[in-house]
Amino acid sequence: MTSLQRVAVSVLSAVFVLIVLATFLLPAHYARQFRDIPNAGPSSAHPLGTDALGRDFLARLLYGTRVSVLLALAAALLATLIAAVLGSVAGLLGGWFEHLVLAATDLSLALPWLFLLLVVRAMLPLDVPPLLSVVIAFLMMGLLGWQVSVRVICAAARSIRDSDFLLLARSSGCKPARLLLRHVAPNLRPLFYAQFFISIPLFILTEANLSILGLGVMEPMPSWGNLMRGFEDFSTLSANPWRLTPLVLLVIVVLCFQLALPSPEVAQ
């Protein structure tokens, strides 16, 4: 691990500690309004001031960090899980099933990612409770974000399909399910981890884009994307530069994930 990777991992660890301890560190609940001090500047009571509705900005930032990061992690986990199962089975079995999986992957990759998300989001009701909007965003990204990973995993599974150890396992009467779980999956584990890590920054950015467009996490639940919706009014932003903290935090976290990624040889 290089020194730069160590720094990135340390920063990410600090962010995770912050997420876990957010409940204890919060000066107020993220939805609580201080109606007499809307758009207030930083003070000892509100270190990052308050927003236009008088809500504590630090509380919203910490909760937003928790929502965005956990949402991206969960979606990456689901997408990697789907890609691992589909890719491994397709690579191991080969034949028509592999062709079918790869054709479906090609088909969905023909669409730009955001267009695909918009189509699916348009199918579902828009006026939903905030918690449900988080679940919808997680399911959309998790269920639709596996295509790139499945190609990589399928290629890797195909490369070990005819290896000696699988031949030996097959000749000793090993069933396909056991082959997959005991022999193929352990060999592909580094690849699964790499694909999981690669997906996280992608999903963080996707959530931010969707929420800024009003199709992601719904108010009053904060997320990085939600908090950045206020950037449209640049006059407020130039008067309150600390409102840029969600963007700064997002850039730092995404950069750290990019730096902490495993080497390209493993990722490919």
Partner: protein, 296 residues
Amino acid sequence: MIETKKSTNLFRLVLRRMLFLVCLSVVGALAGATLVRFAPGYGVTERDLDPRWSANSLEALRQKQALHQSLPSFYFHYLSALVHGDLGESDSLKRPVRELLRQRFPVTGSSVLRGLGVAWLAAALLASFGLVIRVWFFEASATAFNSFLLSLPSAVVAMLAVHLRAPVFFAIAVVVFPRLYSYIRNLLVQAYDQPHVLAARARGLGSSTIFFRHVLPLAASPLLALLGVSFAISFGAAIPIEALCDSPGLGQLAWHAALSRDLPLIVNVTLIVALVMLAANSLADFAGRTLAGSTS
């Protein structure tokens, strides 16, 4: 003999791609029809909630509009209308989808093409310049700047473009540039590390000669493939950028359709974008293979 075999392979590739395009159109149209037919609230209008209409009148109207037609019949009517160029009517804008697409497509097409042009030019120049001068400080700064741009959501780039009064194509270029730069740079580095380039350098050939005669031909085929991929990236980036920059293109139309749950509109916009993407990818792939065949 070898030439004939190459031509046959290319012909097969073109046929396969054409077949894939046709399959995609059919599958996409059927998937779109399914989305429209089974979406929650399909066929429900404000009129259904109006107490002035009696149940009998509503039932008669529904039957007239064939809302209760069987599923195969629904698919058949949808596909036959599609074949005749009828993409339906937008629920929210109350205008034919075909007319909306005809108006919006040139706007997005122009922004995407100009954005891609700027991004490709900047990425290719920066990557080539870095490779020719080989100064670590330049490389480190360019990589850091590139990583920073990669970490910015495209919606934030769009808001920045609004603030700076920058054109839409510039925002698209900013989103596409970092993805192109890292890939182009890696391709050129790989090509520069080839033994024949080292031999050319040892023979005292100039930097520009080495670049244009030995490096570029080697990297040209994957670069053409990248051109197809960059189309998909820029069309994806066009959604938040056009929506936030208030540019009347396909991206804004798709965003509007998603916000108003206008399924006929968004499904058809997506189908058209998918076909354009696939055609661009196929062309790039075909050009890359032809070029690889002619240089080998």
